[in-house]
């Protein structure tokens, strides 16, 4: 039974990566675009995968928690560090997305989040304003943190060092 939950956990991780891929690549690709309509296409692309993203995150998180109880891992340090890294990454990514990508969505006249509220589209800003918001996007630190954090979690899960 324990192996089954580890299997589901790994499956959840793979599904999560698969569903997060569109968003990851979008963050880099959108920097190269100058046409507002192309930018909207890329932001839409990220939005389409949201249900699969949420479902796979739920699978990996719940199966991970159950596997940790079944394996009696809660007494060890590596699992707490893994959970802390996962939560830290999720909070930072969520904040960064709201702070930068939803500002761009707003400027492009798309549905956007501000604070904790979902807002309907408003009139699109001028091309100069859109490009000014786009210039502030910094995908590399987010990607390094995201992939680096994932590798650290993978190392902790595989080698259980402490």
């Amino acid at each position: 039974m324990y192996s089954l939950f580890v299997f589901l956990h790994v499956l959840g991780v793979m599904g999560f990566m698969l569903s997060h891929g569109g968003t990851t690549v979008m963050t880099f690709q959108i920097q190269k675009e100058r046409d507002p309509d192309r930018m909207r296409t890329l932001l839409d692309l990220s939005g389409y995968s949201w249900p699969a993203f949420a479902l796979s995150f739920l699978l990996l998180f719940v199966s991970g928690i159950i596997a940790a109880f079944m394996g009696r891992w809660w007494g060890q340090g590596w699992i707490w560090v893994s959970v802390a890294i996962l939560l830290g990454m999720s909070i930072y990514m969520g904040w960064s997305s709201r702070a930068h990508y939803h500002k761009l969505r707003k400027a492009l006249g798309m549905r956007y989040f501000e604070g904790s509220k979902d807002h309907p589209p408003i009139k699109a800003a001028s091309d100069e304003e859109i490009l000014a918001v786009q210039a502030k996007l910094k995908p590399l630190p987010m990607a390094v943190l995201g992939f680096g954090g994932t590798l650290v979690i993978l190392w902790l899960m595989m080698f259980k060092p402490f």
């Binding site: 599904g15 990566m17 690709q29 692309l45 992939f147 994932t150």
Partner: protein, 155 residues
């Protein structure tokens, strides 16, 4: 050393899925788009992720083969079956994904009726807008099978 290669193998699989996710998202998005500008934005994504996708699958396969030798797994059937499933699913993705992307993006012309490629393209066309769903379902089935073989090493 075996553990280091195993870590590299799993990390490259994680990287592959991240990059391949962009491909999957684009195939679904192509069903919703028709304007040339928006199609171009999606095509740019495919162009930019292609080398990363190829690189990560190469690291996955090479590190997997090294692990087979180091762990003496090549005597068992499960790694060979995993490799076979990977090759078959790769072929399905390249052929049907290629036909779908080529025709939707207008980069591939319909072959003439007598050409060998004609019948395969007809199969691809029959799938039509269901192609992304078909590719996702077959891809996920292959993932579940390979993961099960890797984790439980049943034979």
């Amino acid at each position: 050393m075996y553990d280091v290669i195993l870590f590299l193998h799993v990390a490259s699989v994680v990287g592959y899925f991240l990059v391949h996710g962009a491909f999957a998202s684009v195939t679904f998005a192509l069903n919703r788009e028709s304007q040339p500008e928006r199609l171009q934005a999606l095509e740019n994504i495919l162009d930019s992720t292609g080398p990363w996708s190829l690189g990560s699958v190469l690291v996955t396969v090479v590190s997997g083969i090294v692990l087979m030798v180091m762990g003496n797994w090549w005597r068992d059937a499960w790694p060979w079956l995993s490799l076979l499933i990977l090759i078959v699913i790769g072929g399905v993705m390249v052929i049907f994904g290629g036909i779908f992307l080529g025709l939707r993006l207008g980069t591939e012309e319909m072959p003439a009726k007598g050409e060998r490629w004609y019948r395969t393209v007809q199969w691809g066309l029959r799938l039509g807008s269901r192609t992304p769903l078909f590719l996702t379902a077959t891809g996920l089935a292959a993932l579940v099978l390979i993961l099960w073989l890797m984790m439980f090493k049943p034979f």
